[in-house]
């Protein structure tokens, strides 16, 4: 693949820089310490944080977003911790996730469900019954734990959340 220089889109990097302040993805010198550390990369070799940063700097993220691989980040934060130039690839990836959603891309189904649950229930998943060692089902009530109340008790909160996360639903 040869790169047509006219395709370089610097706005992507500008947007990302604004979102990840005070981190500095523009200082990356491709030492790949992040990818050496990356938890996801160990089980999914196609996922390479240093490459994601390099592509972001050129604004060439279309294929990247189409592949959806940015959702594979395990957010272990090792890359940010060890990066010598405060690039913090994990923050770049989170920024790309936000930008992708704003552009209309959809996140993995489970995350959509979490967002929906938060808006409707206040938690990322509803309370469930669990199976114990003795093969009995237990719930909060049978475990004698205090009852769960719905946190967002006023509609303004729900409105706010709907506005902020509604884009994925």
């Amino acid at each position: 693949m040869s790169l047509d220089v006219r395709l370089i889109d610097k706005k992507i990097l500008e947007d990302v820089i604004e979102l990840v302040k005070p981190h500095t993805p523009q200082y990356c010198y491709q030492c790949a310490k992040c990818t050496s550390a990356c938890s996801t990369s160990k089980v999914l070799p196609e996922y390479k944080p240093h490459l994601i940063v390099a592509l972001t700097r050129l604004g060439l993220i279309k294929e990247l977003l189409n592949s959806g691989i940015i959702w594979a980040c395990s957010e272990c934060w090792k890359c940010a911790e060890y990066c010598p130039q405060n690039v913090a690839p994990v923050e770049v990836v989170i920024a790309l996730k936000n930008l992708a959603i704003a552009m209309g891309y959809k996140p993995p189904e489970d995350l959509k469900v979490m967002a929906k649950n938060v808006i409707e229930l206040g938690y990322i998943s509803p309370p469930i019954e669990v199976l114990s060692k003795e093969f009995e089902m237990y719930s909060r009530t049978t475990l004698e734990l205090p009852p769960l109340i719905k946190p967002y008790i006023n509609t303004e909160a729900v409105n706010n959340l709907r506005k902020l996360f509604g884009g994925v639903l």
């Binding site: 010198y29 030492c31 310490k33 050496s36 550390a37 240093h50």
Partner: protein, 657 residues
């Protein structure tokens, strides 16, 4: 002012000035100003005919003030001052007006306004000229001797050059022997010379030089005075051995039962409680370390004093102080390596087989703790796979921001050490960029690239873990082949970042030397004057100014010595012309000036029952802080008195007429 006679000269500066304004018109304007006797314009005022013009006018018209409106004073103030001197006038009766950098070069688009501005500036200068007066500088003699702090290769080079120029040198070294870091290295790149072999002859030269006096195991504890006349107090730490009696036979060291960690070997191996720093130490005299000596800690033993053939052991020895008077000081205290335990991810300090490049030097050195065998520290076996990590801590915002400069070359040298000691070892060089910039470096790098079983991996490891057998296991991403490589290494060598000596702050403050963001000594100008400081008479030699390899260190030290020699052989220091002066009638002795003077040049004295400020004319550098601070106006600065400045200001405020 009686009979002020001003000559005004407007330069064309070719087209630089004349291309924007009309110098003749400005001259014509100037000729009508009060006290102006003659006003001319000319093509190039600084040229020979231009200068002659001024000189002749001074004589013809009996001028006693000269205004030159031209370029910046930083260009030609000395040129025109020389003209005044030749014509028999005090050079400080000259006033330059900058109508180039401050006018025509920045106002090209508005030539009319530029011409008005030139006229206003000249009018202001003429007003000020009325208040100019003669200034003479004072000279003070310079003590023809130098103090060199630090006995590494930089201090050694500087000391030898100074001594060879006939200057008496005091070389102070805080360790027991001179030699510094070079003594710790096995070989030097790219020639692979044995480091001690090229160093020790110089160490001996220093010891034998009639003009050099070495104070080893000593430290500078106080500095006072000023350039050309420093008073320095040296503390001679107790060695507990009378070095004047000691012959350096070494029997005491041989028999000593005490055991201490070996700092020279970077913590690898042990030394005795009484010890020489290394075998070729200069001076070759032992030191007792009371922290590990059985007599000092437990009240037993004293074997050394029993076996010493000349009775040189002296457990009662106390620290001594010596006062020296020197004209110049050269700071050559070197560098330290970054504390790699701070990079938790690499396991240095936790895992035995993770070592620094300097520790590898000690292993490789035939005189070192393993007699030149490169081994795993955990079990003493030969390493079959060695990983060398470049930029460990360097170029890292979280650790050391800057490049260490010699890490890449040192790593290439370390490949040689390992392949030489263990020919069938696999060596991995884990790099980000290889900076092989010096003479002979690229050829060396080429050679190393071609060696059997040496692999250059472009990637930086993030975390290093240890397996049960002491091997190191880690992942590193290679961006050359685009794959994650799992490494199992017997030995990991960290080419660590380089930092200034961690305890040099008190010395730095004594000398009034600033530091740069990395903590290294701040040079006067990074490109043009890297071995001088803002403190007169104090020079920088070697890595204390910033990381360097040996050739650059030696060049830097020789340059510092050369400038110091020039300074000392001139024989005198001269006060700056724009000195602070005290009007004692107005001075109340409040001392505010003392508190703002960066050069400690002002003291408050008792004079006829009153307290008044007194300026040391050699220490004063004419910065003006005191004059600006003085609430009563008692403190004035020559060439920048309140009257002079205010006359300019009020003329400008009134506009050119």
């Amino acid at each position: 002012m009686s009979d002020v006679r001003v000559g005004v000269y407007i330069c064309h500066c070719g087209k630089n000035i004349a291309g924007v304004i009309n110098p003749a018109k400005v001259a014509e304007f100037a000729s009508k100003l009060p006290n102006v006797v003659v006003a001319r314009d000319y093509m190039y005022m600084c040229s020979s005919p231009g200068q002659s013009l001024i000189e002749e006018d001074i004589k013809k018209y009996n001028l006693n003030r000269v205004i030159v409106a031209a370029c910046s004073p930083r260009m030609h103030e000395p040129t025109f001052q020389a003209v005044l001197k030749r014509a028999g006038l005090n050079p400080w009766l000259l006033q330059m007006v900058n109508i180039r950098e401050h006018d025509t070069w920045v106002h090209e688009d508005t030539p009319d306004k530029a011409e008005e501005k030139a006229k206003e500036l000249v009018a202001a200068a003429v007003a000020r000229a009325t208040h100019l007066y003669e200034i003479t500088t004072e000279k003070a003699p310079v003590v023809k001797s130098a103090l060199v702090i630090g006995g590494g290769i930089a201090g050694i080079r500087a000391a030898l050059d100074l001594a060879n120029a006939g200057i008496k040198v005091y070389l102070v070294e805080k360790r027991q022997s001179i030699g510094g870091r070079m003594a710790q290295l096995d070989k030097t790149f790219p020639t692979l010379d044995c480091s001690k072999c090229i160093l020790t002859p110089l160490m001996v030269d220093v010891a034998r030089h009639p003009n050099i006096e070495i104070y080893a195991y000593s430290e500078v504890v106080d500095v006072s005075g000023s350039a050309g006349d420093f008073k320095v107090k040296i503390k001679l730490k107790p060695t507990y051995v009378d070095w004047s009696k000691c012959t350096g036979c070494g029997t005491c060291v041989e028999k000593c039962p005490g055991k201490a960690p070996n700092e020279f070997d970077e913590g690898l191996g042990f030394r005795k409680a009484i010890y020489f720093e290394f075998a070729q130490a200069v001076p070759r005299r032992p030191v007792i370390d009371p922290r590990y000596c059985l007599w000092f800690t437990k009240g037993i033993c004293r074997v050394c004093s029993k076996v010493c053939p000349v009775g040189a052991i002296d457990y009662e020895q106390k620290e001594r102080y010596v006062e020296l008077n020197v004209g110049a000081i050269v700071v050559a205290i070197g560098y330290e390596i970054y504390d790699m335990t701070k990079m938790v991810e690499y396991g240095y300090g936790k895992f035995k087989n993770v070592i620094t490049g300097l520790q590898l030097e000690r292993l490789s050195d035939a005189d070192g703790p393993t007699k030149g065998r490169i081994v795993r520290l955990s079990d003493g076996r030969e390493p079959k796979t060695v990983a060398i990590v470049l930029c460990a801590g360097s170029r890292d915002e979280k650790h050391v921001r800057y490049c260490c400069r010699f890490g890449c070359a040192a790593a290439l040298k370390h490949v040689y050490y390992v392949k030489h000691a263990v020919p069938d070892a696999k060596v991995l060089v884990l790099y980000t960029d290889v900076r092989a910039f010096g003479k002979g470096f690229e050829e060396f790098y080429q050679k190393v690239r071609s060696w059997d079983d040496v692999y250059f991996i472009r990637g930086r490891p993030a975390e290093i873990f240890e397996d049960k057998d002491g091997s190191l296991i880690f992942d590193v991403y290679d961006s050359n082949t685009n794959q994650l490589i799992n490494v199992r290494a017997d030995l990991v060598v960290l080419e660590s970042a380089v930092v200034p000596p961690k305890d040099w702050e008190p010395l730095r403050r004594l000398l009034k030397v600033s530091c740069d963001p990395g903590g290294f000594a701040l040079e006067l100008h990074p490109k043009l004057r890297p071995f001088e400081t803002t403190a007169d008479g104090i020079f920088l030699a070697g890595t204390i100014q910033g990381p360097k390899d040996i050739p650059d260190t030696v060049a830097h030290a020789a340059a510092a010595a050369a400038v110091a020699i020039g300074f000392l052989l001139k024989g005198y220091v001269e006060s700056v012309p724009y000195l602070a002066t005290v009007n004692e009638d107005l001075c109340s002795g409040c001392g505010l000036c003392v508190s703002v003077c960066p050069y400690d040049a002002i003291t408050i004295e008792e004079k006829e029952g009153r307290r008044v400020a007194k300026v040391n004319v050699i220490r004063c550098k004419g910065c003006g802080a005191c004059a600006a601070t003085c609430p009563s106006g008692a403190m004035q600065q020559h060439y920048f008195t309140d009257t002079q400045i205010l006359s300019e200001v009020s003329t400008l405020a009134g506009g050119a007429k």
